[in-house]
C-alpha cells in the first residue's frame, strides 16, 4: 500500500522552496522570482495532470491511450523543433520520427507481453520513451549545427575530393549518434548504484516488491536506450540534407568567405 502524504505535510514543502529562495536572496542571484514561479507552476501542472490521468484511466484503453500519446508527442515535437529553427518541415518530421519510435516500442512491449494495453501502464512508460526521444532529437539537432560549424573544413575537404553530401556527412553522423548514445551507455553502467531510477523508486514507494520493480526498470531503461539511439540516428540521417544545397555545396557557404 502506498504511503499517503497528508495536506499538512504537503504544506511544509514551502520550506523546500524557501531554502533556494533565501540562498538566491543572500547571494543576490536574482532567481527568487523564477524559483517561486516555476515551483508554483510545477505544482499546478502536476496536480492538473493527476486529474487528467485519473480521467483518462477511466476511459476505454484505446481512447485514453490515443489521446494522451497524441498530446505527449505533439508537445514533444513542438519542444524539440525549437532546436531546429530554419529547417523546413522540422515539426512535421520530428512528429513523424517520435510517432514511429513510440509505436515501435509499444508494439515490442505488447508483442513480448511485457506490459498490458492499459492506460496506467502504457501512458507513463510511453511518456518516458517520448520524453527521452525528444531530448535526443533536440541534442542531435544542436550537435549537428555545431559539428557543421566546427567541422566545416572537413566537410568542404570531403566535397572537394568528390564526395556527395551523404558521404561527406558520414563522419559527422557517427559523432552525433555516438554523442546521443554515450549518456545512456554511461547511465546504464551506474544504474541503481548512484541513485535509484525514478520509475523504480515510484513502484517501490507504491508498495511493489523491489525485484518486481527492477523488472519494470530494466524494460524501461533498455527501451529508452533503444528509442534514444533510434531518435538520434533517424533525426541525423534526415536533417543533414538541409545543410547542403542541390549543387552539393554547404548551404550557408554562399558568399560568406572572401
Amino acid at each position: 500500500m502506498a504511503p499517503e502524504i497528508s495536506n499538512l505535510s504537503m504544506f511544509f514543502l514551502i520550506f523546500f522552496v524557501l531554502i533556494p529562495v533565501s540562498l538566491s536572496y543572500i547571494y543576490a542571484l536574482g532567481l527568487s522570482g523564477s524559483i517561486v514561479w516555476s515551483s508554483f507552476r510545477g505544482i499546478v501542472q502536476l496536480f492538473l495532470i493527476g486529474y487528467v490521468l485519473t480521467y483518462l484511466f477511466s476511459l476505454s484503453p484505446p481512447i485514453g491511450i490515443s489521446i494522451m500519446l497524441a498530446v505527449m508527442i505533439a508537445v514533444a515535437s513542438l519542444h524539440a523543433s525549437k532546436k531546429g529553427q530554419g529547417i523546413p518541415f522540422v515539426r512535421v518530421i520530428i512528429f513523424g520520427i517520435i510517432v514511429g519510435i513510440a509505436l515501435l516500442i509499444l508494439a515490442m512491449w505488447l508483442g513480448f507481453d511485457m506490459i498490458d494495453f492499459q492506460p496506467d501502464q502504457v501512458i507513463p512508460m510511453s511518456g518516458m520513451v517520448i520524453g527521452n526521444s525528444m531530448v535526443a532529437i533536440g541534442l542531435a539537432l544542436e550537435r549537428m549545427k555545431s559539428e557543421f560549424r566546427e567541422s566545416r573544413g572537413k566537410i568542404v575537404a570531403a566535397l572537394a575530393l568528390g564526395a556527395q553530401p551523404q558521404q561527406a556527412s558520414t563522419i559527422l553522423i557517427r559523432k552525433i549518434v555516438k554523442a546521443a548514445m554515450i549518456p545512456n551507455v554511461d547511465g546504464l553502467k551506474t544504474v541503481g548504484l548512484v541513485q535509484l531510477p525514478g520509475m523504480m523508486t515510484g513502484l517501490i514507494l507504491g508498495g511493489v516488491p523491489p525485484i518486481e520493480a527492477i523488472r519494470y526498470q530494466i524494460v524501461i531503461s533498455l527501451s529508452i536506450f533503444t528509442s534514444v539511439s533510434l531518435a538520434a540516428m533517424v533525426a541525423t540521417i534526415i536533417f543533414y540534407r538541409f545543410f547542403f544545397n542541390k549543387q552539393m555545396q554547404l548551404a550557408e557557404m554562399k558568399n560568406d568567405e572572401a
Binding site: A158, A160, G162, I171, M248, A258
Partner: protein, 239 residues
C-alpha cells in the same frame, strides 16, 4: 558529363564576366602549364574565386567553362575530382594517413593499396606513415598528407588556398619544390592563393593581383613585380 580532353592552346578554364556578392566582373583564362599565383589583401576575393572553379560555390552572373564546356554541364563529383583543391588548414579526417589518402579514390572505386606508398613518396614522407593516426603528425606533415590526398584523385588542375600559411619553413620549401616539379606532367595547371608575395614571385609564371573583389592587375610574374602599374599594387607591395 565526363571530363573531356582539350586542344593544344585552348584555355583549360575561362571565367567570363563572373560576379558574386564578393567578386565583380571577373575575366580569367587558365592555360595548360601555367602556375598562376593570386595575391591581394585579406577579403579581396581570392578564395572565393577558387571555390567557383570546382563549384564549391556558384556565381550569380557570368559563365565558367572548363575544357570548353560550361562547368554546370559536368557531373559535380567528377568535376571536383578533375579540379582538385587543397585548403588552408589540412582538414584531415579522423583515422590513419592511409584512410585519408584512400578517401577520394574510394569514392570513385579507384583505390589500389599500392597507391599509398607512391603518394607519400611524392610528398617526401616515409611510407611507414601509412598506418599512423593523422593527429600524431606535425602541422607541416599534415599539410603534405592533405596534398597527397588531393593528388590521389589524379586531378588535372590544382587549386591551392594559402596552403603554406601555417607550416614551418622546411615544409614550405618541400611543398614549393614539389609544386614546381609537377606542372605540367602530373598536373596541367595550378592556381595558388598566397599571402606571401615572395612565394608568389618564386612559384608563379603568371600573377593576378586582386583588390575588393576585382582583378586589378595581372601579367607575367616577373613583369608584374618589376613594374607594377596600379597604385593599389604598388601600395600592396610596399606593405
Amino acid at each position: 558529363m565526363e571530363v573531356v580532353a582539350i586542344n593544344e592552346g585552348q584555355s583549360l578554364i575561362r571565367m567570363e564576366n563572373v560576379s558574386t556578392a564578393i567578386l565583380k566582373n571577373i575575366f580569367l583564362h587558365v592555360k595548360k602549364g601555367e602556375i598562376i599565383t593570386l595575391i591581394g589583401s585579406s577579403g579581396a576575393g581570392k578564395s572565393s574565386l577558387l571555390m567557383l572553379l570546382n563549384r564549391l560555390n556558384d556565381p550569380d552572373e557570368g559563365t565558367i567553362t572548363y575544357r570548353g564546356q560550361d562547368v554546370n554541364s559536368y557531373d559535380i563529383p567528377a568535376l571536383r575530382k578533375s579540379i582538385g583543391m587543397v585548403l588552408q588548414s589540412s582538414s584531415l579526417f579522423d583515422g590513419t594517413v592511409e584512410d585519408n589518402l584512400a578517401y577520394g579514390p574510394k569514392i570513385f572505386n579507384e583505390w589500389d593499396e599500392k597507391m599509398g606508398e607512391e603518394l607519400l613518396q611524392n610528398v617526401q614522407l616515409p611510407t611507414s606513415y601509412l598506418q599512423r593516426p593523422v593527429d600524431e603528425l606535425s602541422g607541416g606533415e599534415q599539410q603534405r598528407v592533405a596534398f597527397a590526398r588531393t593528388l590521389a584523385n589524379r586531378p588535372d588542375i590544382l587549386l591551392l588556398d594559402e596552403v603554406t600559411s601555417a607550416v614551418d619553413l622546411k615544409n614550405v620549401e618541400l611543398i614549393e619544390d614539389f609544386l614546381s616539379r609537377i606542372v605540367p606532367e602530373r598536373v596541367q595547371a595550378i592556381l595558388m592563393v598566397t599571402h606571401d608575395v615572395a612565394q608568389a614571385r618564386r612559384l608563379g609564371n603568371r600573377t593576378i593581383f586582386m583588390d575588393q573583389g576585382k582583378i586589378v592587375e595581372e601579367g607575367k610574374t616577373s613583369d608584374l613585380f618589376a613594374n607594377p602599374q596600379t597604385e593599389q599594387l604598388q601600395y600592396f607591395l610596399k606593405e
